[in-house]
Each structure stands twice: as C-alpha cells, then as structure tokens.
C-alpha cells in the first residue's frame, strides 16, 4: 500500500487542544503518521520505544471507556508510563481544583497530560499554567480532537480521500464535541458536512458554521457517503428536547428500513457508546456497512501518533 507522502514540514504543536486551529496539512500529517503506527498493534511485540521514560497522565474528570483505555494503551505501546486519574477516587472530592491537581501531578514529573473535563476550555487553561504537553480528550461541548481525527482516518482508509464526500452527522449536535471536531476535520479535508437533528438539538448559531443543516433524516439518507450517528446524551440534556425517545427514534434513528434507501457503500459510524435501538438499530450497528469497531481500532493508532508528535514538539522546543 503506497503511503501518501506529506510535504516535509515541521510539526511544532506541543499541545493538541482542538482541530479548529489546525491546517488541513497538519491534520493530514497526523493521519499519515497514524498509518505508520498501525503495525505496532498487529505485530508480535506490540511495543515501540519512542516514549520510553516519559510519563503520561490520563486526567479524566468524566467517565470514559473507549477514550481513556485507548490513550492508556497508546501510551503503553509507545513504552511510556501511565498514571490513571479518575475524579471519583481523587482529592477533587475534598475540593482540590483542576489546576492544583495538575500542578501536583506535574511536581511528580509528568510529560503529557491527557485531559477530559466537563468545562469547555479546561485543556487550554491547563496548557497556560503547566509545562507538560496537554492533549484534549474532550472538553465540555467544545472539541474532542482525537475522535475527530480517528473518524476522518477511518473514512480516509476506506474511501481513500474525503474530497467531495457527503457526510451526515445525526443527533444531539448542540451538546456534541464530537460533531464539532468532526466538522472541522472533515471540512478542512474537503468533505461536505450536513448536521441532521431536531431543531431543539441544533446549536443556536449553526448557520455560522461551515455545514448544511437538515431537520429530516429521510431527506438526507440517500445522498450521503458517510453517516455518523451520535448518542443521545441523557446525562447532558436539560429540559425536554423531544416528546419521547420513541418519537426521536422514529424520526432520527438509523433503521434497517432507512439503510435500504441509503447508498450501498455508505459507511455507518458512531463514536460510542451506542444506545442500541435508540439512535441506531442493532442490525445496522452490527451490519456490513458499519465501521464502528474499526473506529475503535483506528483510535489507537491515531492516539499513538498524537502522543508521539506532541512529545516530539516538546523535545524540540526545549
């Protein structure tokens, strides 16, 4: 398989806070780097040495299965040591602030902080106040850059290029950091993105974003090459954005019936965790068009690439 060569240039970002501020060339560079990391996970010795002696902290203030374990495994595959921090078992319960938590960990000697926090901007706040590299694993409704990256990586691997592709992102867009990161990555790489969902779950100023908007999945389903289903995040919803779960599923769920009207080679994606039967039917989630598990596998290679690159940039700036 020929690897597309990126132009020779310097990756100088010591932090990965979001995809909005990255150029298309930089996003492509991360994806090309991730391609080189895939085989570390498939060969006999699933370890390579670039982060040997480095310490990565998983600073998670929100629950996570995929992202947290993916970063932990990525760090391990690069021979880094990992510290797992969960809010539940920490001194945050005693009132310790985000900054104090990070500074105390840093005093023990850490190199990279992977942070997930309910407050948008928390990673940016951290990187202004600590010396370690900061990688955003999801901040509020703002961005989830590694998810955006693994989503475009998955699409690019199968479709070869995102140029001209039509992509629908369906669900609770207003509260979705995944939708935002996806939007930035996909549009920068040349795709046409449509947000689909009920008006109550669309961001207030969606018309200012570089996307199309549709309030009807049936209008869009036969036109798109990729469809990304978002989870209804019951833990984040305030008020009553839709009359009932059943009604939401009826209008916006990805059903077997809707799939019959979709392109035969449509890619079905979901960041996980899935609410089976709600935003997506089981047969579709487990069906032949689904790349949901590939997304998880690719997430590992992408996160290895991100940890490698931010560490590199930090080494160069010292």
């Amino acid at each position: 398989m020929a690897v597309r060569k990126s132009k020779q240039f310097k990756w100088h970002h010591k932090h990965l806070l979001g995809l909005r501020e990255l150029r298309a060339e930089e996003i492509s560079f991360i994806l090309d780097t991730a391609t080189g990391f895939e085989q570390v996970s498939t060969r006999l010795v699933k370890k390579a040495p670039p982060l040997r002696g480095k310490v990565v902290v998983n600073l998670f203030f929100e629950d996570s299965t995929r992202t947290r374990n993916s970063f932990a495994l990525a760090a391990n595959r690069l021979s880094a040591d990992i510290i797992e921090f969960t809010k539940k078992d920490s001194s945050v319960s005693k009132g310790e602030t985000l900054l104090d938590t990070a500074r105390n960990l840093e005093a023990m000697g850490i190199d990279i902080v992977v942070v997930r926090h309910s407050a948008g901007g928390a990673p940016r706040f951290l990187c202004r106040n600590i010396n370690a590299c900061v990688v955003n694993a999801g901040d509020g409704f703002c961005e989830h850059p590694t998810q955006g990256l693994l989503d475009v990586y998955t699409i690019r691997k199968i479709k070869k290029s995102l140029e001209g592709l039509k992509i629908a992102i369906v669900g609770d867009i207003a509260h979705s950091r995944v939708a935002r990161s996806d939007m930035w990555a996909m549009t920068k790489l040349g795709a046409e993105v449509t947000f689909v969902g009920p008006p109550t779950l669309m961001p207030a100023r969606v018309d200012q974003l570089p996307v199309n908007v549709s309030y009807c999945l049936d209008d869009v389903i036969d036109k798109v090459d990729v469809i990304n289903m978002l989870r209804i995040q019951f833990e984040r919803l305030g008020g009553n954005p839709f009359p009932s779960i059943r009604e939401y599923s009826h209008y916006f769920g990805l059903t077997v019936e809707r799939m019959e009207r979709a392109k035969s080679d449509i890619l079905v994606m979901h960041p996980g965790p899935i609410n089976r039967g709600l935003e997506i039917e089981s047969e579709v989630a487990d069906g032949k068009n689904s790349v949901i598990l590939e997304q998880v596998t690719n997430g590992l290679a992408v996160r290895m690439a991100v940890l490698f690159l931010v560490n590199q940039a930090a080494a160069q700036s010292n």
């Binding site: 310097k10 780097t33 060969r43 080494a315």
Partner: protein
C-alpha cells in the same frame, strides 16, 4: 559536489554484492532481504531480484521504517521532521537469514535502530548488513558484512545517494 559513483558503477556494485552474498549462502537456507527506508528499501528490492536469479528461487523482500527506534527523537537539534512511515514485511522473519540493506553506513545508529526494530518483529537466524557505501565516522561498534564501496571523506562532508526511483537520477556524490 564530487560524484564518486555513477549509475554504471552502482549497477556493478549491486551485482558484486549479490554475488558475494549468494556465495556465502547455502541454496537451502531461508533468506530474505529487508531495506531500511527510504533508499535502503530501493536497493533491497534490486538486490533481492539479483539474489533470486543467482539462487534460483524467490527471495522475499521487505521494507523497514526505523523512525520509532531512533535514538535522537528526544534531542532533535533542529533537524527535519521525523516522519513515521509503514514497515512492510509480509513474511515471518523467524529463523531466516536477514540481509539488512542501507545506502550509507556512517555513524552506525541507523543499523542499530534497524536491528532493534527487527528483534521486535521476531527472531531472525542471523542479520547481515549490506551497504552501498561505507564512510568513516562510526559512533557505535557496527560494521557491514558486505560493502559496495569504501570512501574516505572529511567529517564535515556528506555522502549523498541518489536513486532513480526516489530522486530521478543515479549517482553517489560528496556534498
């Protein structure tokens, strides 16, 4: 810029290398050629074709990317961006004699990185290093088993290899 090898000479050197390697090998031995990205891989492909002809059997060829095993990743000193590429070795390296191929043997650090990379992929029976050009400046106790051309250059001079597939021309020169 001083050209020390032209395309005809490079061709002859590869013929000689293949002949020397084939001489040392038993027909029955399991052997494979692996080139270090990026020019080593091109030379490896050319060598494996020649070896396949001399030994009368298909000699597999693979490509090794050593970026992850470099010892200078944490102290780059303003070099160009290290680019992680794919390693493509479509065969098991266990119990095989691996002919590791690179274009220039200088400090020996690339060869050291390549050996560490290979050992993470399996347990070869032996690794033998074949290089197109050997120049002074070793920083590690590494030496080539098969050398195409030995050249004496000053410490601040660079030996550069151009190959048709990667650079559009065939030559080895001192810059």
């Amino acid at each position: 810029m001083k050209i020390i090898l032209d395309s005809t000479q490079i061709d002859k050197i590869l013929d000689d290398l293949a002949r020397d390697i084939a001489c040392d090998l038993d027909r029955q031995q399991d052997v494979a050629v692996i080139g270090i990205r990026s020019r080593g891989e091109i030379l490896a492909q050319r060598l494996s074709i020649r070896l396949s002809q001399s030994l009368g059997k298909e000699i597999p060829c693979g490509t090794l990317d050593i970026t992850l095993y470099r010892d200078d990743l944490n102290s780059p000193k303003g070099q160009t961006q290290p680019q992680v590429r794919t390693t493509e070795i479509g065969f098991n390296i266990d119990d095989k004699i691996i002919i590791l191929v690179d274009d220039v043997l200088y400090t020996g650090r690339s060869a050291r990185a390549a050996m560490d990379a290979l050992i993470d992929l399996g347990r070869p029976k032996a690794i033998k290093l074949a290089v197109l050009v050997d120049r002074p400046g070793r920083e590690l106790p590494i030496k080539a088993d098969y050398t195409g051309h030995r050249t004496d250059v000053a410490h601040d001079e660079v030996v550069q290899v151009n190959l048709t597939e990667s650079d559009g021309k065939e030559q080895v020169f001192i810059a």
